[in-house]
Symmetry: C2
Subunit: 211 residues, 2 copies
């Protein structure tokens, strides 16, 4: 059933998850698609359509059970398990990622950072060790690694991504400003965060708004 779900729908699911989490924090147990629609500024029919992709969850006239829907979307998003993340590049961005405690609450546990800078050897961020890139093979052989976040310069991104896949890490969270060669490999999952692209999108809308 899930195979036909578009990435556009999937891209909206984390936002549902976030809003449902806020409702839970507020003690709300049940919500109609209309009320959820008002909060999220999307149409109620969009919400019903999106959730119907996964078989519904709502009961006509009774709205959604917030906890149930939250848990089910969590399962769809793979948040019912722990994902161990290593971060390649322990510069500001790598350390910023390691400092986000929220990722851990969602089941994404950063277990190690890697860098080539010998000055960082033996240091740690929030008790997460910074290791040398030369230790990567050993580390991957002896530890479960589910995701690698790439925060080092783009000139190194392709070779490191290939190395990671050779070591069995089949999911890449890419911050390097380049499309990775490895994206051609269908067994590898790549999600890119292109900060420059996001800035350009912003400046396009600035120009458009000023007209």
């Amino acid at each position: 059933m899930e195979k036909d779900i578009s990435q556009a729908v999937i891209r909206r699911m984390p936002r549902y998850y976030r809003y449902l989490g806020e409702l839970l924090d507020e003690g709300v147990e049940r919500i109609s698609s209309n009320d959820l629609s008002n909060r999220m500024k999307v149409t109620a029919s969009q919400i019903r359509q999106d959730l119907n992709n996964f078989g519904g969850f709502g009961q006509q006239g009774y709205g959604y059970n917030v906890q149930y829907l939250y848990d089910e979307i969590g399962k769809i998003l793979g948040l019912d398990r722990q994902h161990n993340i290593i971060v390649i590049g322990a510069g500001n961005l790598g350390q910023a990622l390691a400092n986000y405690t929220k990722f851990e609450k969602l089941g994404f546990k950063i277990v190690a950072l890697f860098d080539v800078n010998p000055e960082l050897k033996g240091k740690s961020v929030r008790d997460i060790p910074i290791l040398m890139l030369s230790e990567l093979d050993d580390y991957c052989a002896n530890n479960q690694v589910d995701i690698a976040a790439l925060t080092m310069p783009k000139s190194k991104a392709d070779s490191i991504a290939q190395k990671l896949v050779d070591l069995g890490v089949m999911a890449i969270w890419n911050f390097a400003h380049v499309d990775l060669d490895i994206e051609k490999n269908e067994d590898v999952v790549v999600e890119s965060v292109h900060l420059s692209d996001s800035l350009m999108q912003l400046s396009y809308n600035i120009v458009k708004n000023s007209k």
Copy 2:
């Protein structure tokens, strides 16, 4: 003409710009939509359709002039002017943004960081000063600020975003994991980078790929 262009098309433009920049670096002067299609892994007809939104640029049978297309897309994206950015929050992420020299090459100049931590007072990142949040009003009154990047905790995001708009900063690059109230204001441009959402998207695809 531009008013009907979908955000989906706009989201693809930075990627064109990036590939055209790489072609220029390689000394390529002219490229057919087929060759560009092969490089970018999108169909040639998609490329032609996307670029036709802005009036074309190609000449039947001659392909695209790379420099011309690069410059024109740059103008569309508002890269033919300088955008001054302030960063609210001088933690790891704020400092990581300030350290990206690439943004500057694209015309996005980070001019100051702001924080509430008195230990950061008087410090700087790449000669970009870290100022105290209490200095924000004065700074905005005396300097051109086009974009504010929000990298502080989400509990403060809405109040600071509103304050920035009151100070005349009409574009927000939001890294706080929340939809800002200010997005309701049509005069304000908001572009959000939700890192947790990106991780969830990744884990969805991990689960799907493992089935």
